[in-house]
């Protein structure tokens, strides 16, 4: 259950599949070794994601790469009973693409916050753990990121 979210969190940070996989592998191994330090009763996922993100950041630093997320919108994501008209589908596709491109243009901290909180649907606590910052910082980064996205998308979105 955790491997997908761990891998995707690592990928959001490393922006590279092989690095993300190795970071996730390392994280699970290190998490296992550190189980004795896990606080009983605490939620497991934020703890794990903090380890995953730390491994991912280490790889990003050593690789020295600064590339975009290369997010792509999947072609097939609709239930059969909700097939839109070609015009509506095109409009939806263009709106998604504009949003995706606007996310790509965000500064790294804001983009990572948006990716973790919304694209990965992590909780605030999990996002803070993944970004290694307080929840207040997550909130302020998200607030600035949303403001910027609204400006970029213009009247397309409501405040």
């Amino acid at each position: 259950m955790h491997q997908t979210i761990a891998f995707r969190t690592a990928w959001v940070i490393t922006r590279n599949e092989p690095d993300a996989e190795e970071a996730a592998q390392d994280a699970f191994v290190k998490a296992h070794a550190a189980l004795g330090r896990f606080r009983e009763g605490a939620p497991f996922r934020p703890w794990l994601l903090a380890i995953v993100a730390n491994e991912a950041r280490n790889r990003l630093r050593s690789a020295g790469r600064r590339t975009g997320l290369a997010l792509r919108v999947a072609e097939e994501r609709r239930p059969d009973d909700a097939v839109p008209s070609p015009e509506a589908a095109l409009l939806d596709s263009e709106r998604r693409e504009r949003l995706r491109a606007a996310i790509e243009r965000l500064p790294d901290p804001a983009r990572e916050a948006v990716a973790c909180r919304y694209l990965l649907d992590l909780s605030e606590e999990e996002t803070a753990a993944a970004l290694d910052c307080p929840r207040g910082t997550v909130k302020s980064r998200l607030s600035r990121a949303l403001d910027r996205l609204r400006v970029e998308l213009g009247e397309e979105v409501q405040a």
């Binding site: 259950m1 955790h2 491997q3 997908t4 761990a6 891998f7 995707r8 990928w11 599949e17 092989p18 993300a20 996989e21 190795e22 996730a24 592998q25 390392d26 699970f28 191994v29 998490a31 296992h32 070794a33 189980l35 004795g36 896990f38 009983e40 497991f44 996922r45 794990l48 997010l71 792509r72 919108v73 999947a74 072609e75 097939e76 994501r77 609709r78 239930p79 059969d80 009973d81 709106r95 998604r96 949003l99 995706r100 996310i103 948006v114 919304y118 694209l119 990965l120 649907d121 949303l146 996205l149 609204r150 998308l153 979105v157 409501q158 405040a159």
Partner: protein, 271 residues
């Protein structure tokens, strides 16, 4: 949540995320290596993958590539037993695309028995037209007695119901000889799940090159997660022996009172 936040969350569901690699075997191997440096045996070769480099441990762990055999149950009993407080969470890690197996120390209360909720009854031909995948039917069984489609699941969820008959004894869990369930695991990651107690046998298999999990023994629970509420367990019910099979993007589930060999035979005959 603002409209923009809703759009961002929706975008996350629609993104073409890179396929999650199979992490469990490598992680299990590395944990075993760290705890017992002397290898016991050679593990089966992993299936060819696009990114071969990813299967290698990073530099810090390359001291040994000799591989120990680590089966799920060995790992569960031998490694995680020492840390029962987090064992359940760690074991969440194992699963197939579209389904997970979660082992718990204590099972949830048994839900009251009720009728199966399989969706709308239809025909196989109609189901083929309405699903986002080509249905697979076990040729080792007769044609299904009932075909059902649940449209609320992205891509659709197909259920094939078979009455009990020779070779397909009645399962207490369903009242059927065989219940086949199919859905697009890639569209609904971790949509279906199992909650298994410590007495349930969980075995990883390969069926004609496809990854599979076999669950047998003490009753375990089967649930679907609501598509719009991914973390809420619902439709919890006791399940009998189950084979979960990943065939490309499709997740196939066979439930019945049959043994593993019969389940594998049925799975191999899926066409």
């Amino acid at each position: 949540m603002s409209e923009l936040e809703s759009r961002l969350t929706q975008l996350g569901r629609e993104l073409d995320w890179p396929a999650t690699p199979e992490l469990a075997p490598v992680v299990a191997r590395r944990i075993r290596e760290a705890e017992a440096p002397a290898p016991e045996a050679e593990s089966p070769a992993p299936a060819p993958r696009r990114h071969r480099r990813r299967l290698l441990p990073p530099a810090g762990f390359r001291r040994s590539l000799a591989i120990a055999v680590v089966a799920l149950l060995v790992l569960a009993g031998g490694v995680f037993a020492a840390v029962p407080n987090v064992r359940d969470s760690v074991l969440d890690f194992f699963g197939l695309q579209g389904a997970t197996v979660e082992r718990r120390q204590e099972l949830p209360p048994a839900p009251p028995p009720g009728p199966l909720t399989l969706g709308q009854r239809t025909t196989l031909a109609a189901a083929r037209d309405s699903l986002a995948f080509d249905p697979l039917v076990p040729e080792a069984a007769e044609p299904p007695d009932g075909v059902y489609v649940e449209r609320a699941v992205p891509g659709g969820l197909l259920s094939l119901a078979y009455r009990a008959r020779a070779g397909l004894p009645e399962a207490k869990s369903t009242g059927l000889g065989l219940l086949v369930t199919e859905f697009r695991g890639d569209l609904m990651p971790e949509y279906a799940g199992k909650i298994a107690g410590q007495a349930t046998r969980v075995e990883r298999l390969t069926v004609d090159g496809h990854r599979a999990l076999w669950l047998e023994g003490a009753p375990h629970f089967f649930f679907y997660r609501a598509p719009d509420q991914p973390f809420r367990e619902e439709r919890l019910r006791i399940a009998q022996n189950v084979l979960l099979l990943e065939d490309g993007r499709l997740l196939v589930r066979l439930e019945g009172a049959f043994d593993r060999e019969r389940a594998v035979e049925l799975a191999r005959s899926l066409r």
